[in-house]
């Protein structure tokens, strides 16, 4: 075990030494990898931020608008009746006055509303179905039941925007996956090519090592560590790019979101995200180096 650790430590130190001896070339390679990793990571972060905001609002509610002439007492009686029904978690009465006050507070139509001679809004109920009655079939049946009431003007099922948001999120996820896959291949190619050049540059050393009995694993090991270190360094830089980008746009995004009454905010990368990025970077580096090493070292035949 100590021997195994010592061999790996030796290869790691050797790979670190090689990278440190060519700092500019190492940095350029790491920057290319960083840019390739930062783009999908940024997209992923954006998708998560949108999903988090949407996640708080994806519960499908029904809103029942009554005819304007229906008195509040009738609405409250119907609300009490609904609360007894199975599959209903809560029913909130929104009086016409409450609705108007809310609209004045949150809407840019406050001035126009103030100019109206009387309140044009009807009383309404906001119905929150139980979790086990939130299927489209159950909600459709509830909607049909409520529409049949003579006092009801309109029943609105607030699911359309949720479906649209889900579709947008799915699209964003697919785009992120596509970009991530493409750029992941790009990272593999960059690291693979860098390792290929290193192998060619150390051809003589590899041949001599093979001549004195160096196994394929022994010859390959420093290159694998070099690839993993490139990936690790690249992903660390990528995390820095994403962090800086989020910090730069977080303020303006927050202002924009507030102006629309939204609580949307870009989320930072976080410890888990950073760990994931480093792991992905290191694995891509390792895979790229492995491919290059397996392909090019096996072609080197020592000559006596």
């Amino acid at each position: 075990m100590i021997g195994w650790l010592s061999r790996h430590l030796q290869a790691l130190v050797f790979a670190l030494g090689r990278l440190a001896r060519a700092p500019v070339a190492t940095l350029f390679t790491a920057v290319v990898i960083a840019i390739a990793l930062a783009l999908p990571a940024g997209f992923l972060l954006l998708t998560h931020s949108v999903r988090d905001v949407a996640g708080n609002a994806t519960t499908v509610d029904l809103t029942v608008y009554f005819k304007r002439e229906v008195p509040l007492e009738s609405v409250q009686q119907l609300a009490a009746h609904l609360r007894q029904r199975n599959g209903i978690e809560s029913v909130a009465v929104i009086t016409a006055d409450d609705a108007l006050a809310l609209m004045r507070k949150d809407s840019s139509l406050a001035e126009a509303l103030g100019a109206l001679p009387d309140n044009p809004l009807p009383h309404a109920l906001s119905i929150h179905p139980a979790a086990d009655a939130s299927s489209s079939t159950s909600l459709g049946a509830l909607r049909q039941y409520l529409t049949a009431w003579p006092e009801v003007e309109l029943v609105q099922l607030d699911s359309d925007w949720v479906r649209r948001l889900d579709a947008i999120l799915l699209l964003m996820q697919r785009i992120t996956l596509g970009i991530g896959t493409l750029l992941g291949f790009g990272v593999l190619a960059v690291i693979g090519n860098t390792i290929r050049l290193e192998i060619n540059g150390r051809r003589q050393e590899i041949e001599i090592t093979q001549l004195v009995g160096g196994s394929a694993a022994f010859v390959r090991r420093p290159f694998l560590y070099t690839g993993a270190l490139y990936g690790l360094l690249g992903s660390l830089l990528a995390a820095g790019i994403v962090h800086t980008a989020v910090a730069l746009v977080a303020g303006p995004v927050d202002q924009l979101a507030r102006s629309y009454g939204s609580q949307f905010a870009l989320q930072p990368l976080g410890g888990q995200g950073l760990g994931l990025m480093l792991a992905v970077g290191a694995l891509l580096g390792l895979a790229g180096a492995w491919l290059a090493a397996a392909r090019h070292i096996s072609r080197l035949q020592p000559r006596a």
Partner: protein, 217 residues
Amino acid sequence: MIRFDRVYKRYPNGREALSSVSFDIGAGEMVFLTGRSGAGKSSVLRLITLLERPTRGLVNVLGHDTQRVSVSKVPSFRRQVGMVFQDHRLLAERSVFDNVALPLVVAHTPLRETDKRVRAALDQVGLLDRIQALPGELSVGEQQRIGIARAIAPRPALIVADEPTGNLDPQLSREILGLFCRLRDAGSTLVIASHDMALVNESGARQIHLDGGRVIS
């Protein structure tokens, strides 16, 4: 130690390098492979060190039928054979210590033992005081002695050398020959390819003379 029995070697380009070559080399022997360029000396060494496999016939080295040694076992086989090259094959960016230590490092020898053996090998070739030097700082003769130190550091049962004095003047060649004789006297088996007949005759060692891929004497 080494047995060639009716060995043929034909390269992919169609050239037949060896034709029905047979000989035996016993443990503790120093044997010179002699002959002109293209006689087949290097092919014999390549077959001994498993850089090539015979087209036909038996090559048995250190008890291994080389035809049966799998690719994955070749490195461990080569660790039992010390190799000395005409062009030294030293790593220019590594110190003398690192160069001599290389076969011990690939064999995963513990650090303390590596240090001990490298110093012993350098002492044997008389270059212990150059342990931290780079190969470029050494003379051609010293570089060849470092190459020999690298070959003997793991204390292999067999040492093969391909034209080890090919680039050296007569004085240095005699020094290297003296070194090989001392290794033989210490119990090592040596197979040396050389076309320097004066040196070979001076050694008094057994010769296997090759011509056109055949053993002449």
